[in-house]
Amino acid sequence: MLKKENATLATDIPIKPKIKHSKKKINLAAIWTISPVTIWLLLFLFIPLFFILVVSVMSRGTYGGIEYTFTLENYARFFEPLYLRIIVVSIAMAAATTLICVVFGYPFAYIIAQSPAKYRTLLLLLVIVPFWTNSLIRTYAWIVLLRTEGVINTILLKIGLIAEPLTLLYNSGATLIGFVYTLFPFAVLPLYASIEKLDRTFLEASSDLGGRPWQTFLNVTLPLTFPGVVAASLLVFIPTLGLFFISDLMGGAKTMIIGNLIKNQFLTARDWPFGSAASIILMVLTLMMILFYLKVSGGKTDDTELL
C-alpha cells in the first residue's frame, strides 16, 4: 500500500526528485549516467546532421566540393520536374510497399493473434527468422528466383507453361518485391502487438448488438488497432525511401528513389550541397510522418510497439 502511494506521489509531482538524497549527489550521479550518451550523440549524430543542414544551403564547385556561399537553389531544384518526379516516384513506391505489407500483413497478424497461445510464440518467431538473415541475402534470393535463367523461368519453361523466358528482373515490379520482402516483418510485428491487445469483449458486444462481422471489423476492430496500422506503415514507409541497394540490384539501376539520389550525389555526382538538401527533405518527410503517428496514437508511444 505504502509503495503504491509513493509511486503516485512521484508521478503527480514530477519536479520533485523521486529519491530523497542530497541534491548535489544526485546531480553528480545523473551527470555520470546521462552525459556519456548525450555527448556521444551530440558529437556523432547531431553535429553531423547540423553540418548537412549547413551544406544544404551552400553552392557546389565545378568538380564537386563546397563553395561557402549561401543559396537556396538546392531546395529550389526539387521543384524542377525531374527531381519532383523522383520524389513522387519514391513516395509512390514506398506507399505501394506499405500498402502491400499492411494489407497482407494485417490478416496474417490477426491469424497469429487468434491462434492457440502455445503456438503463438513459434508462429511469430517464424516471421522474425527471415528478418534475422542479412537483407542483402534476402534480396539475392529473389534475384536467383527472378532472373531470366532463374528458378521461376526454368520451372515454367520445363512444364511448358511458357515458350520464352519472362522478364521478371530489372523492373520496378522486381524492386517492389524486394522492398516488400525485406520489410514485411516490420509490418507484422506492430500489427500483431495491437491486435493481440484487442479487448475481445468489444467484439462480442458488437456482434451481440447485431453487428455483422465486416461491420464489427470496420467499426470496432480496425479503429482499435489503428495505431498498430500506422506504426506498421511507418516502419515500412520510412526505410523504403532509403533502401538504395534494392533498387540498384533488382531494378537494374534504372529508376531512382530518393535514397539512390542521395547516394549518387555523394558517391558519384559529387554534389554535396544538393545531396544534403535531399537528405534534409527526406528527414522532414520522415518527421512529418512520425508527428502524424504521434497524433493518431494519442501521444502515447509504446516502445515495444515500435520495435
Binding site: 555520470w32 556521444w40 491469424i111 541475402i137 539475392y140 528466383l145 523461368n153 511507418l234 544534403s276
Partner: protein, 258 residues
C-alpha cells in the same frame, strides 16, 4: 474461431509463410547445385562450401564484422544501459530534450545517418576505417539498447531499490547489487539486438567503411553486384545456420529463465 473460418486462415498463413521461406529454401538448395550459371539442377556438390573456405576476402570480412559487432555491442550496451537507468531515475531540466534525442536515430532514415557521418568524418579529416565504422555502429545501436532497457525498467519495482538504500547501501552498491542483476535479462536482450543490427547493417556501413573495414554485408553486396555465383548461396546458408542456432539458443535461455 469457428471451424468454418479456420481452413482459409490456415491456408492464408501457409501462403504467407511460403512467401517468406520459399526464396530462402531455394537459396539453400542451390548452394548444393553443381552448376555455376544455370538454375537447372545438375547434381549435388559441396564444392561451393570448399571454395568459400579458401576465399580470403570473405573470411577477412567475417572477421571484421564480428570484431566491429563485438565492440559496438559492448560499448553501446554499456552506454545505453547507463543512460536508460539515469533517465529512469533522475529528473532534471532538459530531460525531455535528451529523451527526444535518444529516439531520433531510431526513426531516422539510415541513409541520412550514413551521409551525415560520411560528411562529418570527411570534414574533420578522419580517414574512414575501423574507427569510423565502430563509431557509426555504436551510434545507431544505442537507442535500441535504451528502448529494450526502458521496457524492462517500466515494470520495475522501485521498492527493492529503496529497501536497499534504507539498509544503508549507497547508490553505487544499490546499482551493482540490486538494479544491475534485475536488469540482467534486459541487458542480455539488448546486447543481442545490438549485435544483430551491427552484423546486419548495410546502409550506414556502406558510407563509413574504409579500405581496411569491408564488413561481411558489404562483401556480399559487391559479390551480388558482380555476378550470381553459388558461393554466395553457400555463404548465405552458413549465415542462416549460425543465425538460427543463435535464435534457438536465445529462446531456450529465455524459457529456462521463466
Amino acid at each position: 474461431m469457428s471451424r468454418l473460418t479456420r481452413l482459409p486462415s490456415v491456408a492464408y498463413a501457409v501462403f504467407i509463410y511460403s512467401f517468406l521461406y520459399v526464396p530462402i529454401a531455394i537459396l539453400v538448395a542451390y548452394s548444393f547445385n553443381d552448376s555455376k550459371l544455370n538454375a537447372v539442377w545438375k547434381g549435388f556438390t559441396f564444392a561451393w562450401y570448399a571454395k568459400l573456405w579458401t576465399n580470403t576476402s570473405i573470411l577477412e570480412a567475417a572477421k571484421i564484422s564480428l570484431t566491429v559487432g563485438f565492440f559496438s555491442t559492448v560499448i553501446s550496451t554499456m552506454l545505453g544501459t547507463l543512460v536508460a537507468v539515469g533517465m529512469y531515475r533522475y529528473r532534471f531540466r532538459g530531460k525531455g530534450m535528451i529523451d527526444a534525442m535518444l529516439y531520433v536515430p531510431l526513426v531516422m532514415s539510415e541513409i541520412v545517418m550514413g551521409i551525415a557521418l560520411l560528411a562529418f568524418f570527411s570534414m574533420i579529416k578522419v580517414p574512414l576505417g575501423m574507427g569510423t565504422l565502430l563509431i557509426a555502429h555504436i551510434t545507431f545501436s544505442i537507442p535500441f539498447v535504451v528502448v529494450v532497457i526502458n521496457a524492462r525498467l517500466k515494470g520495475f519495482d522501485q521498492s527493492i531499490e529503496e529497501a536497499s538504500k534504507d539498509l544503508g547501501a549507497n547508490e553505487w552498491q544499490t546499482f551493482r547489487l540490486i538494479t544491475f542483476p534485475l536488469l540482467g535479462p534486459a541487458i542480455a536482450a539488448s546486447a543481442m539486438l545490438a549485435f544483430t543490427i551491427s552484423i546486419d547493417d548495410v546502409i550506414v556501413s556502406f558510407f563509413v567503411a574504409g579500405p581496411d573495414s569491408t564488413t561481411l554485408p558489404l562483401q556480399i553486396f559487391s559479390m551480388v553486384r558482380h555476378g550470381v555465383t553459388p558461393e554466395i548461396n553457400a555463404l548465405s546458408t552458413l549465415m542462416l545456420i549460425v543465425t538460427l542456432t543463435f535464435v534457438v539458443f536465445a529462446q531456450k535461455l529465455q524459457t529456462r529463465k521463466r
